[in-house]
């Protein structure tokens, strides 16, 4: 790869060496001004107490230590981790089980199924929120179905219930992400040579052994991609929370992404909002790096 790059690097006759910078420059200026600099400012703001109007005062690490000590800040991070079960763990597990069950045959009409299963991914989260809000409403589809099958006692205003609001929002995440995982794993499973399954069966492996010996290792790369995409999406779920619950009831569904907006633009605690944003970034990077380490570590 390196030598290939080197030969690419040869310039056309008479071309200055610095021309590469010229090509990068316009993109870099926009990217720096509207992404890198604001991120840097976030880090700086996170060390200040500021209400957005009057003079800011230094806060030291206060805004960060608050995340661990202040219950109204600790809770959103706890909720985010709970939501990761719904956004990430459940879709990956469901996707894996189904892909494994389907890996032995060639699926016809895969394009159709793939298009339908992936559809939730292209809908605006605001639209997804509106659609699910009416399903989860007190007189919505879910409760209608529960009453129709005689489970009246289970019917409840899902998004208004202190215990059920967070799992209800989580289920929407599972709905959005499962199709993505399934599409990823199906594509991967269709590439596994059928001889591997035959060999496993000749060795007397049951469905269970076959899954761990053949399917799971073959889908390692796809699992890493699925985990990365779902974790990032699960932690950046501002739109859904804003539309469906606004963090409520009480603070039952507040998440860091929502807390940044809430603190900066509704409570005028700009420094604290910036600290939550930076902490969220650290969390996302830590988790995604861990995922890729785990996957690559096993490979070597």
């Amino acid at each position: 790869m390196k030598s290939l790059t080197a030969s690419y690097g040869r310039r056309a006759p008479g071309e200055p060496r610095a021309v590469g910078y010229l090509y990068v420059l316009p993109a870099l200026v926009i990217y720096a001004l509207f992404l890198l600099v604001p991120f840097g400012q976030s880090v700086w703001l996170s060390f200040l107490h500021w209400d957005g109007l009057t003079r800011a005062t230094s806060a030291g690490f206060d805004n960060y230590s608050d995340i661990f000590t202040d219950p109204s800040l600790r809770a959103p991070f706890g909720h985010a981790l709970v939501l990761l079960i719904f956004y990430s763990a459940l879709p990956v597990c469901i996707g894996l089980l189904l892909a494994a069950a389907m890996s032995r045959i060639r699926v016809r009409g895969l394009t159709f199924f793939r298009t339908v299963l992936f559809l939730p991914q292209v809908l605006a989260m605001v639209v997804v929120g509106v659609a699910w809000q009416s399903i989860l409403a007190p007189d919505g589809l879910l409760n209608d179905v529960l009453r129709a099958v005689g489970l009246d006692s289970l019917a409840r205003p899902w998004l208004g219930d202190y215990d059920w609001a967070l799992p209800a929002v989580g289920i929407v995440g599972t709905w959005v992400m499962t199709g993505l995982c399934l599409v990823l794993f199906l594509a991967g499973a269709q590439r596994i040579p059928k001889e591997l399954y035959e060999a496993a069966r000749l060795d007397g492996a049951g469905a269970f052994r076959e899954f761990f010996a053949v399917t799971l290792p073959a889908l390692r790369a796809e699992i890493a991609v699925a985990l990365t995409l779902t974790i990032v999406a699960g932690l950046r779920n501002f739109d859904l929370i804003y539309v469906m619950t606004s963090g409520g009831p009480g603070e039952a569904t507040s998440v860091p992404a929502y807390e940044v907006y809430h603190r900066a633009f509704e409570l005028n605690q700009v420094g604290s909002a910036a600290a939550v944003g930076v902490a969220l970034t650290v969390l996302i990077f830590t988790l995604t790096v861990t995922v890729s380490r785990l996957v690559e570590g096993r490979r070597s």
Partner: protein, 274 residues
């Protein structure tokens, strides 16, 4: 298991999940075509055939005509600028060698995982300072910057893999790097560029947080922002809300159905960093 049972089982599972995927979509469609003012969120086909009046009401009464216009303007500018700048930068990262190129490239790649929430707060105060909040610029500039992360990453892969012999030939012919790019590599790379365009379009079209923070003037709202405010006002009129939601989702869904392979490819590889 015999292969016939396996086959039935497989298609059964795929069908169940396809139905689960479609249920909320069908729900919102049936509400949108339903009787106006109806509280019925059921899934039966509305009586008296399809009712289009909700759409015209959402369009005029709900100002979604204006919001769609704003969304189209922002999306067209962001996609155009981000595409051109991404191609230029990715070309340099893909085929040229200059000091610092690797570091610079990774700086762009970081943008793929950097959450908006970590920059939206100072960005708001910066843009307010320069008095461009409540203008199209406040939507266009930040979203262009965010789109560049994916664009540069995606197009660099294309330039890395594009036929080396073609470029060598162009060089022997004395073409400079710019001519090689626009005359040969861009026309050749139409599939990769299409993927980048549809993904950037979708992200820009669906963007909510940036619009919520930057725009307070009603006439400048984009469609997702319009829907959120509409929902706040008219919780009782679910059919209008549903019609507005359909109007928002439609453009992306149409492009998605036409180019689903490009969409899926782009969205799934965005996470694979080398």
């Amino acid at each position: 298991m015999s292969s016939k049972i396996e086959r039935t089982f497989t298609y059964g599972i795929l069908s169940i999940f396809a139905v689960i995927s479609l249920t909320p979509v069908i729900g919102i469609l049936s509400t949108a075509f339903g009787e106006k003012g109806s509280l019925n969120t059921g899934f039966s086909l509305p009586e008296g055939g399809l009712n289009w009046s909700n759409f015209s009401d959402a369009w005029s009464q709900g100002h979604f005509g204006t919001y769609l216009g704003n969304s189209i303007l922002v999306a067209v500018v962001v996609v155009t600028v981000a595409t051109v700048l991404s191609i230029l930068a990715a070309y340099a990262f893909g085929v040229m060698r200059f000091p610092g190129s690797n570091v610079l490239f990774y700086v762009f790649v970081i943008g793929l995982t950097l959450p908006q929430e970590a920059l939206v707060v100072p960005l708001y105060f910066d843009l307010r300072h320069y008095e461009i909040t409540d203008t199209y610029w406040a939507l266009i500039l930040p979203q262009t910057a965010q789109s560049l992360a994916f664009g540069v990453f995606w197009m660099r892969t294309y330039f890395r893999n594009s036929a080396r012999s073609v470029m060598e030939a162009a060089r022997v012919d004395g073409a400079n790097s710019f001519t090689t790019l626009w005359r040969i590599l861009v026309p050749m790379g139409r599939p990769a560029i299409t993927t980048m365009i549809v993904i950037t379009f979708m992200w820009t079209w669906n963007e909510f947080l940036m619009a919520l923070v930057m725009i307070s003037e009603e006439g400048l709202r984009t469609v997702p922002l319009g829907l959120a405010f509409f929902q706040g006002q008219q919780t009782s009129d679910t059919s209008l809300l549903a019609a507005a939601a359909v109007l928002i989702a439609l453009p992306v869904v149409v492009v998605y159905i036409a180019l689903q392979r490009r969409f899926i490819e782009g969205m799934l590889t965005g996470a694979v960093k080398e």
